[in-house]
């Protein structure tokens, strides 16, 4: 695993990334209409650890999230899951050449 210390910083710029509060209980995955297993628990851990490669490799899960907040309505830690996912999208789009800009 390659740790990229600037990665978390770039996530914060993308939005409100507050995944640190997650206590890994699994409620979100159990409720998710898509059964997203990697999101938010594992993926958020990778992000918090600065494991850029692992996060970038999960773009399918990141872009399939419905931002429906069913997970969030039941998260005991009050994580803003949907906004965290959106922050990851902002970062991923920045990585894809020319998508966010002209």
């Amino acid at each position: 695993m390659k740790v990229d210390t600037g990665f978390l910083e770039s996530l914060r710029l993308g939005g409100e990334f507050d995944a640190r509060l997650c206590m890994n209980c699994g409620t979100c995955t159990a409720l998710c209409p898509l059964g997203l297993e990697i999101l938010p628990r594992r993926l958020f851990r990778h992000a918090l650890l600065g494991d850029r490669e692992r996060v970038l490799g999960e773009s399918e899960a990141i872009f399939s999230c419905l931002l429906c907040r069913l997970c969030e309505a039941n998260c005991p830690a009050g994580v803003h899951i949907a906004e965290n996912v959106r922050s990851l999208r902002v970062v991923l789009n920045g990585e894809a050449r020319g998508l966010a800009e002209a």
């Binding site: 993308g14 209409p33 898509l34 773009s59 399918e60 872009f63 399939s64 999230c65 419905l66 931002l67 429906c68 907040r69 069913l70 969030e72 309505a73 959106r86 922050s87 990851l88 999208r89 902002v90 970062v91 991923l92 789009n93 894809a96 020319g98 998508l99 966010a100 800009e101 002209a102």
Partner: protein
């Protein structure tokens, strides 16, 4: 393999940046619903459609076509399509919908205008300046495109001296009320959904409907904007008894719509599960969002009837076009 994410998003982002709208919609088509309604131009209070009802059939059509690319080798062509789309607008080829469908959707805007008029609420309309609210760009994380577009909306509202906005769908409500003010600190207009405006006004019931149905709450109204009591109060007064599903209100289950562009088959799976939940409560289903309506209707069997809440409200509060 989904539809190629970056190329598809790139196309939509390019459209919004260059053409002011994510999907092809001529200004004439966007305003056509106002025909014969004599809605004044501008004013301090405007009905803001954000073009969602006008665009929903095109999104639906595009989903059908994109679904064919899912997992196909033709996916590779998308990078090329995006580059071409910058020069010539290609999206109309992907997003062509039928005239009848477009009319069915924009008739809901006419319902809403009639409801507000019947309740004695004065409002204007911005016509060619009634811009798309940019929800897709924001949700997909195209923040540069989204912020540039939000500034256009801000400029338009300022130029017309708009103080209050009445919205007609959850996504535009959320963008104008919660998302844009956070991104652009000087953005200050009062934003209310027509359901909130009507519930506050409590107009007289002209015809009690005396029927039952179930309600599909949109995730955005339910969990982003807290618009839950208002549609229920209006339906109850109008004589509609709701058989609620277990997953309703703050626990509503998504229609699958947000995934429809990039993951059409997963989106359809979610929609089918939702329709089954609703049907078990009552085969007559009420929605309050053009995207929910389109996505659930796409998979519903003929014995499930899905209609927009304005179809019911107009019958109860503003029957028969004068």
């Amino acid at each position: 393999m989904p539809v190629p994410i970056q190329s598809t998003l790139g196309m939509l982002g390019d459209n919004l940046r260059k053409r002011g709208s994510a999907l092809p919609l001529s200004r004439r088509a966007a305003m056509a619903w106002t025909r014969g309604l004599d809605i004044p131009r501008g004013g301090e209070t405007v009905l803001y459609t954000g073009q969602m009802w006008q665009m929903a059939p095109a999104i639906n059509a595009m989903t059908h076509r994109l679904a064919r690319f899912e997992g196909s080798r033709l996916s590779g062509l998308f990078g090329f399509a995006r580059r071409m789309n910058r020069l010539v607008n290609l999206t109309p080829l992907l997003a062509r919908s039928s005239a009848a469908e477009r009319q069915a959707y924009t008739d809901r805007l006419r319902n809403i205008a009639r409801l507000l008029k019947a309740a004695g609420i004065p409002f204007g309309y911005l016509y060619e300046d009634d811009l798309y609210a940019g929800g897709l760009a924001h949700d997909e994380g195209l923040d540069t495109v989204f912020v540039a577009h939000a500034k256009r909306i801000q400029a338009v509202l300022q130029r017309h001296g708009v103080k209050r906005v009445i919205t007609v769908d959850p996504h535009t409500t959320n963008m104008l009320r919660s998302v844009i003010p956070k991104a652009l600190p000087g953005f200050s207009v009062e934003v209310k959904s027509y359901l909130e405006v009507l519930a506050e006004r409590a107009p007289p019931v002209r015809r009690s409907l005396d029927r039952s149905a179930t309600m599909h709450d949109s995730c955005v109204y339910a969990r982003y904007e807290g618009v839950l009591a208002e549609p229920r109060a209006l339906l109850a007064r109008g004589g509609v008894r709701l058989d609620e599903t277990e997953m309703s209100g703050p626990l509503t289950f998504c229609c699958g719509g947000p995934a429809e562009m990039l993951f059409p088959s997963r989106s359809a799976d979610v929609a089918r599960r939702r329709v089954a939940q609703l049907k078990a409560a009552n085969p007559e289903v009420i929605t309050a969002c053009p995207l929910c309506l389109a996505n659930l209707s796409r998979v519903a069997e003929p014995d499930v009837r899905i209609r927009d809440i304005s179809d019911y409200l107009v019958e109860a509060y503003a029957p028969a076009e004068a």
